[in-house]
Every structure is written in C-alpha cells, then in structure tokens.
C-alpha cells in the first residue's frame, strides 16, 4: 500500500513557525495535523488541513525528552478527531536540513498514543510526521493493531512543489 501525504506550503510554514516558538521548559514543541483522506489506485492520499499546536499548559516537565505531552493534550486531540471525523497526525520538527528520521524515542512514544485514535475514528488512518527545515518523514497506522507503514511520498504544495 502506498500512502501519499500532502500539505500546502502555507500550512507547512505555519507549522514550522509555531513549532519553533520557545517554551518555558519544553525543549521543543509538538502538535497535531487534522487530515482528510481519499483512495488512490494502490493506496491512499492523506491531506493535511489544519494545525493544532499543543497548548503551553499541556506539556509535562520531563527533561529526558524534547517534549512530553500531558494527558490533556492527547485527550484534546482525540476529541478533535471524534468531533470533526478526521484523521490525525502528530507532528514535530528536527531542526536540521535533509531527511529526518524517527529516533527510538520518537518511534516508541508515537506507537504508544497514535493507535488510541482508532478508539474514536476507527475507519480513518492516523500517524506521525517529522519535519526538518526542508524535508519530512512519516509513519501511518491503518489499524489499531497493525504495524505502521512508512509514508511512501510526501508533497508540499505551493509556488514551489516539493516532492519527497
């Protein structure tokens, strides 16, 4: 199955700007992208629509990781997925150029909470996206107990069309 993830350059810029804002104790910021989906010939198209940053007060103070979301952050994201019948992708940024990668911590943490979205939206895929300053990588879950699949293609659409 090929999963193609797309977002506009405008939205990407907004996400990067807001993720780079300093936080009083968290070393990095995270958020969620609410997405819509459509079927393609051999997979699906995931289309990011809106960015929902985790609120300042919803981070936990944990210096062993860049950012630790508290239960309120997850609960609000689940509520959003339920209310809007949308697919949800967790997003954060690695501050460098070139293709980023999921660290062991990134993988372990996302694998813990992303499957929970199937409790509220079981018919839609959910996942996680890591942006760098000029690239991206992502994982997509197609079921609560399925292993995640890598995003086969990521596109940023705007006056420059970036295909990753």
């Amino acid at each position: 199955m090929n999963i193609h993830f797309k977002m506009s350059q405008l939205l990407r810029q907004e996400v990067l700007t807001r993720l780079f804002l300093p936080h009083s104790f968290a070393h990095e910021r995270v958020g969620f992208l609410s997405c819509r989906v459509a079927a393609t010939v051999n997979g699906m198209l995931v289309l990011a629509g809106d960015f929902h940053p985790v609120r300042d007060t919803d981070y936990l103070e944990d210096h062993s990781v860049g950012a630790m979301m508290g239960p309120a952050a997850i609960r609000k994201a689940l509520q959003l997925a339920y209310n809007n019948a949308c697919s949800m992708f967790h997003v954060h940024c690695h501050e460098h150029k070139g293709r980023p990668g999921f660290s062991g911590t990134d993988f372990r943490e996302t694998a813990q909470f992303v499957p929970d979205f199937f409790n509220v939206q079981p018919a839609l895929p959910h996942g996680a996206l890591i942006l760098s300053t000029d690239s991206a990588v992502g994982l997509c879950w197609t079921g609560q107990t399925n292993l995640p699949l890598p995003l086969a293609k990521i596109s940023f659409v705007g006056e420059v069309l970036k295909l990753i």
């Binding site: 199955m1 819509r36 989906v37 079927a39 010939v41 198209l45 839609l124 699949l149």
Partner: protein, 284 residues
C-alpha cells in the same frame, strides 16, 4: 531515462532528473493541446503519466494532434493510445496509465498525480477538474484557445492559468463565470467544434510545460510564478494578464478548504498490513 538524455537540462538542479522521474502527471484531454503537453513531458523525463481522453482520432484531428497519423484515423485509434506511443517512443521506461473515458468515471489514478494539466474543450469540464484538483491539493494548469470573428478577419486568443491551492482559481481569474457556463449549457449537443490550430496549441502547451517545470524545478531563486498568462495569436505574444497584480492580492473565496473524499473508510481499502515494516533511525 538514460542519464545523458537529460544532460542539457541540468541547470534545473542537481536532483531535477530524479524529481521529474518521480513525478506523476495527469493530462486530461489529448487533442490539440494535450498531445503537445504529453510529448514535451516525455522529453523532459517525466516518469509517470495518467492520461485521459474518451475519443478516438478522426480526420478533423489530423491538423493538430501530435503523433496522429492517417493510419490511426482509419483504425480509429484512441487519442490516449497515440499519446502513449509518442511518450514511449521517447522514454520506453515511462509508466503510463491510460484511460479511454471520462476522468470522472475513474478518478483514483488522477488523485495521486502531482500536477494535472487540463486541456478540455468545455468550461464545465474546467470547473469540475479544478474543483477536483483543489480537493486533492493538486496544482492545476489549464490551457485554452479560441478564435473569434472580428472586423476584417479573425482573432486568435488563449490563456494559460495556474491554479494552486489557496491562490486565485479560474473563477477569480475570470476564466470561468456563470454566464459562460449557462451559455455553454444552453448550447449542449449543438454540432460543430471550436476552431483549433496546431501552432497556437503548441505555444499554449509549451508555456504550460514551462510553468510546470518552474513549479517543480525552479531555475532561478527570484522566480515569480505567474497566475494567468494571456496569448494573443494575432501578435504572437504571451503576456502576464493585466489582472495579475489584482490577482496577487486576491484571496480565493470560491473554494472552501474541503479536502479528500468525505466517504472514505479504511474498510474499503483491502490489505492494510502491507509488507513495509518501519525500522527506526538509530542515529537520529
């Protein structure tokens, strides 16, 4: 494509061969405009094509369809098959999805395209294609030409429009408007086609391909991507529309932010486990 085939276009960037080779391009309508576009995209090294046209070649097409022959007319060869033959004669490795039919009946291959070229005859066709492209965040490049009777002869004109998500649409540009669609609907079924000529089709198609390349492999850091270009076939000039400055400040209100297929469910997607288990990056 062979590495040396594209060496004369390396100024498009060190990764341009790869970007173009990975691009999946939809061409809807393979008549006078679309056949030129398909041929040029074959030359620049596009790796994946999705081609739509419901018609077969007839003798009235021979004045402009690139690659079309008398033999094709006598065998009633589909226009999509002619385009495939032209592309494959340039790049035998290009992957081509060919649909002899309306795109609306098989939209799935089109959804996965990185860019769609609309080379359709009708305004309603343009409206539907642009709406579809917006829902899937696909840049849409529209070309069209017309010939009007004026005092003392005829005027050839046309346009090349680049419709990007969150930028002005064909309605904002004035390419589409209600009266035009209503007039077209009132003439539905009327015989006779619009006047079309190969040289004007070629100019519009070449400019459209140039816009596409500028989008995926910009060759200048200060590039300004046009929104609407107008073609005057009597002076043989292509210029930015006089509306361009207004369009640059305009926020499109014709399309909402609706994306994707509202009826999509995972249960209709077959095998979801796949075989591409992810291994995390131990160095990250």
């Amino acid at each position: 494509m062979n590495k040396s085939t594209l060496q004369r276009q390396r100024f498009l960037g060190p990764n341009s061969d790869d970007i173009l080779g990975r691009s999946r391009i939809g061409v809807v309508g393979l008549g006078g405009g679309g056949s030129h576009i398909a041929q040029q995209l074959g030359h620049v090294g596009i790796g994946h094509f999705v081609l739509y046209d419901s018609q077969s070649l007839d003798e009235t097409n021979l004045n402009r369809v690139v690659g079309g022959t008398e033999k094709d007319v006598s065998h009633a060869i589909a226009k999509v098959s002619i385009a495939r033959r032209v592309i494959n004669s340039i790049n035998p490795h290009a992957e081509i999805t060919e649909v002899q039919g309306l795109w609306q009946t098989q939209p799935e291959p089109l959804r996965d395209c990185d860019v769609i070229f609309g080379c359709v005859d009708t305004y309603q066709g343009r409206e539907q294609l642009e709406r579809f492209a917006r829902r899937c965040l696909i840049p849409y490049i529209d070309i069209g030409m017309d010939v009007h009777a004026i005092d003392g002869g005829f005027s050839i004109s046309g346009q090349i429009a680049l419709s990007l998500p969150s930028r002005p649409c064909l309605w904002c540009m004035g390419v589409l408007y209600e009266a035009l669609l209503a007039e077209e609907a009132s003439q539905y079924g009327a015989g006779g086609g619009r006047a079309q000529v190969v040289w004007s089709n070629g100019i519009l198609a070449s400019t459209a391909v140039g816009l596409f390349i500028q989008l995926v492999a910009p060759w200048h850091t200060q590039q300004v991507l046009p929104i609407l270009l107008e073609y005057d076939g009597n002076t043989h000039a292509v210029n930015s529309s006089r509306k361009e400055r207004i369009l640059r400040r305009m926020k499109c209100t014709h399309y909402t932010a609706d994306l994707g297929d509202p009826f999509f469910t995972l249960t209709s997607q077959g095998d979801l486990n796949g075989d591409q288990n992810y291994v995390y990056d131990k160095s990250a």
